[in-house]
Symmetry: C5
Subunit: 339 residues, 5 copies
């Protein structure tokens, strides 16, 4: 399931409260000058199809090759690892594709080091980090005067905010289905419910382990995360729990909709059967009576053979009997609350 | 989902065993004089659409701006945080709207400090704190001689009491549905069950994390909660667990009602089908016999061609046969316990 | 749900290995003389509608007023609290009403102090403590030579024994339903299953927290429970777990019965439909053939117009064809295992 | 559920690597001579209806009377208790009765002391310990040179081995049902599934607490279990977990079979309804047409009155039309994949 | 379920960075020369039907006989044990048989000692270790310069990689079924779903305990696993969790498919019933009318006896009425959205 066919794009942002440099580089070695400066360096790698880039980052920033394997594995579960003086964090970016129906997942990995943060994006689509970049460009933002750990917080916050958007969207789709469900329950609704269920599973798989990862981050005793930043990670932890809660509620609602679908189908079957039963029950006795007087017994052979046929009011009488049957049946159904 | 369009209203109550001051202020600075006095100050902020109020509270009472974000987030889960010498507690007020059908949720946040308590209400409707206020106004109430932590207890108690009311109401609605369910099961009942299920989910989401929050509060080692007040928080903790238990039981009951609905629908289908089958099974043979003797075989062509038609008692015999069939069928159904 | 309308009854038993006093008092002050003696005093309060009694007990035995609130709350969950040198334990007594169908719940609270035990019963019905009282009256019972903690054990044991009776009764009711289920599945069975489910929920709600309460009691480091008594509380703990296990198994069985009910209903629908289908499938072709030869085409207009009507064996032939159809259909149904 | 009507049988085995004595005693006092010797003494009590035996064992081996209560309670959950220098272990022996259908449960209790092991069997049927006894009788078995704790291991191993047999048997019964399920789903299958479910619940109730009991045994710091024996108890612990796992999988399979049963029944309903619908849909139009030309409009009253009846090819035409309808209907059903 | 009928095959690989020896031995004693050398020795035993081999390994490498029992038990759950200076690890190899439908399970056990690793394969089919062997044969592989613990990592990695293949295969089979499900739901689909469910249970049973085993391995304080290898075991632990997550999601999807199957069947029943009802409802009134005018009332007996029969436009009128009924019914069904 590797899909790294986008060209790899490396951008570097180097800043402190006073200075700000932004450039796109092609060779990782160009990041070297920023390495040992007290400024914060954010290297963003977009697209994972670049073994030589990885190799160089490894050389320059001493990233363990197991971490590099994790970065390249786009099915990596969200997790947090401390290794060789780095904090590694894997997360999932989620967003709806342009058609508003397909949920896309994108692997993002973070390597937080001393004064630097490297982010790796799978490069499926877009970039939720642009607002953060914008705020960095503006001179006086509070963000500029904080360290790399605060930058990590801001980027995670951008990702979590996107989760809320996705969850809201799923909620909207469920509400739309709710109306259709009772009126026109057909298997296509079932397919749609199935799709929403799948999206919720994707969300769940992204959110639950992220919760643990951020918890570990907030409680780890690494020096890379300053004490004043921990409270911010706690706040993201809260948001992720909020998303997880909503996902569970939506899952519950989705299951409930399946029940409603099933009972709606069987209610409709009931309605169909009632119509059939009413029609059959009214017309069968009538048809029988009509058939009865359609018999060809020879009335002249004996006075017991269908004398009704020659009565002056025979026909009228039969019609009367039929009318009584119809009325009787209708009263019976009324009584049973079928009509 | 921000809905802060109500005007923000700030009331201050300052009291000890002997003195009592209550006033409505427009500027938070007016609270300043009460700050460093040994009396208990309760500042209640109703409506959250007031950034400048928040900012000033921040200045005056040094509330961390992450807490202020939590206060403003009306989807905040119930939680308890100790930060910078404050205890922050978020909870949900729940009550039924005037129509008795819609469950409303209102975010309430508490900031407990040294000798003061600030409460923030989302301002959706009413105020469950009025009885507490009333008791404060009365001179000799025990409440007046306790600290701000005891005031927090009383307010939480007022909120929890409301939960019991809501849970009772849900129980009543379920009981009403129970009667309808077996008699007239139609999809509207399903909708109502769905609505109750949703309300129970809302309750659950409010109650479960509140349980943990109050547990943390009762077991935290903060100086702001006195040892004699802890027992009171334990008692609220018990009440919240009681609510949570009842919610689980109601959820179980609701699921059971869905089963009853489904089996009631299929039982009714069964009844409809029995009527159809009885009618069809009785009249089909009769109609066939009538049709048989309605055939036009030429009786004069051969003595084997429907000689019955010319028999003197042919018609009477046919009627007799039909009667036997009807009786036989009815006995068969009786035997199968269908009638 | 307060239902304290019974008159409050206070009985005092004071005993040690040699002495035994039993009397009914109206004023709690009458208990005072037994307070500071080395004998064990058991005060049993039957009926909770007695604020002044509570107030006096509070004065005399220094019971915290939160505990008194818990005693008066008849929806109190089973729990164990140590406070101000007392051990408080709340439990539920369960028994079937005289009709053998209604499960009654009665709140019982225990306050264990130094050399005394106070029990509070809601007073719904009867008293499961009589056998214990009887054994106390008899001089040489081992019970008399033990402390108040052992008395508490004996009373809890009496309550737990009652649980076993209730669980057995529920099991019996389920077994009775099991027979009805396959033979006459109608919605009344569903109602009965629903009732049993509710009773099991009540049992569960009483037993699970009691388990934890007794566990805390057995493991608490209070001096009020002697080391040799702890083993006894462990044994009650075991019994409560046994009840809880059986309740879970009965809940499982109940769910299974719902499945059997539903599939029994749909199996019966199947049977009904088979009868309908057999009748319709046999008679419809026959009726058609009869109708065919009931047509009035003018046989004299052309030799192609229903020449069968004038054949000498036309009628016999038609009857033969009909017989073949009936036999064919029956063979078809036999083959499908419908008959 | 006490069923202790078998006569109590006491057998004593006393052995070390060199000596071996086996005898049946009637009085517990006969066990006394083996008490203080360094040899291992195994006293097996078969049948629990013997208060005086219990009393004497109590005297001779100082067993706490709460343990004796546990031994006599045949509904005792598997558990492990250390008390007064003894290790008490309760377990359940499970085996199928001779009919291969009824699962029998037998309470077994073990009291492990210094150099002795007392086992109590409820005495329902047989004895799974015979192979162990056989190995003891043989001089050179490794078993003879180990202590009483190793004997306990061997007996528990014999019990656990029996669990595997029972689980395999349940698996076989499920497989047999699997075939029946799709071919002849009738409520008797449901009954059989229900029985298997119950057996699995019994297994579960026996196995889960035994797992904990053996875990406690292996990890307890009693001197009665030697360090080299602990590994053996760990191995039994593994076996019990294996049984528990298989039980869970079988439970899952059983639930799945219920689903298959239900859907098989509804699939069959579908098939029945298709037959009915095909027959009705084919013959109703035909019968109508036949009925149409059975009307008695007076053709001589006007040329518009059923002129078809006098057309030379009227009858042939009608037959042709009917044939077209039949073919059309069959094509329609073919298209819908009903036939 | 023992199936050890393959001949046992023992291969020895002995290597360090510079030397490499590979040979097949028949007698375990041939492994002896490699025992006390600093090179890494990997002994692979394929096929378990070899008590004498086991016995000798026991002698030569001092493996505890309980571990040997575990090695021989092909139903052994994955687990990790440290005993007598060895690390024992049991795992399950999973792969699809050649038919691509049958999931095969093969027991693999590892004994890691000082400088040696012994692997035992049940020998059902093939060998997933060949690639590792290949890399060992190549001189410069990193693998050659690491110890026996790293070899264990590589072999476990090969097994886990196979899990991903199996999980992908199950996912594909589910996707194929998804298409069939809505179009042709018949019980064979149900059987296939049941088979996939079983495979997922097998996977689950293999993966969950392996997760714990590898966790214990990574966190054990044995000297046999070097600190730099621990990170590698953590990475395998991550992979196993990933597999476990996917298995849970697939289980959820499978359950969802059962729901879709059931509702698809009942939707189809609905469709069948609609066709029946439409046909019956249209033709029953028509047939009744035709029957009505097929009655033989004597029109000459009285002017009230079926005067319509002699009206000049009687037949045309009746046909008109019939047409109106058909149109009316069709409009009614259109309105109900049945056609």
């Amino acid at each position: 399931m590797k899909d790294n066919n986008k060209k790899t794009l490396i951008t570097v942002l180097d800043y402190d409260a006073n200075t700000f440099v932004e450039k796109t580089v092609t060779d990782v070695k160009d990041c070297l000058p920023y390495k040992d400066q007290p400024t914060v360096t954010w290297i963003n790698v977009d697209g994972l199809d670049c073994p030589e880039v990885m190799a160089k980052l490894n050389e320059v920033y001493c990233v363990h090759h197991l971490l590099i394997e994790d970065i390249l594995d786009i099915d990596q579960r969200p997790k947090m690892v401390e290794q060789d003086g780095h904090v590694f964090l894997a997360a999932k970016m989620l967003f709806y594709a342009a058609d508003g129906q397909t949920l896309l997942e994108e692997q993002v990995s973070f390597i937080l080091g001393n004064n630097f943060l490297i982010t790796f994006q799978q490069g499926v689509e877009g970039d939720v980090f642009e607002p953060v970049r914008q705020r960095l460009r503006v001179g006086r933002s509070r963000l500029r005067s904080h360290g790399a750990d605060h930058l990590l917080y801001e980027l995670l916050d951008a990702i979590t905010d996107k989760y809320f958007t996705v969850v809201d969207k799923v909620g909207e789709r469920l509400e739309k289905l709710d109306d259709v469900l009772l009126k026109h329950p057909d298997p296509s609704v079932l397919k749609k419910i199935g799709k929403i269920k799948k999206d919720l599973l994707v969300l769940r798989r992204s959110v639950w382990p992220l919760r643990d990862a951020i918890h570990s981050l907030a409680h780890s005793d690494t020096d890379l995360v300053h004490d004043e930043t921990r409270a911010y990670f706690h706040s993201i932890h809260d948001h992720v729990i909020q998303v997880a809660d909503t996902v569970e509620i939506l899952r519950d609602t989705t299951s409930g909709m399946l029940d409603i679908y099933l009972s709606s189908v069987s209610y409709r079957l009931n309605e169909v059967m009632k119509v059939l039963t009413i029609i059959a029950t009214v017309f069968m006795p009538l048809t029988f009576i009509a058939g009865l007087y359609g018999m060809n017994f020879n009335t002249s052979a004996s006075p017991y053979n269908m004398p009704e046929l020659t009565w002056p009011f025979g026909y009228v009488m039969v019609l009367g009997v039929m009318l009584c049957i119809v009325i009787g049946m209708l009263l019976f159904f009324k009584n049973k609350k079928w009509i």
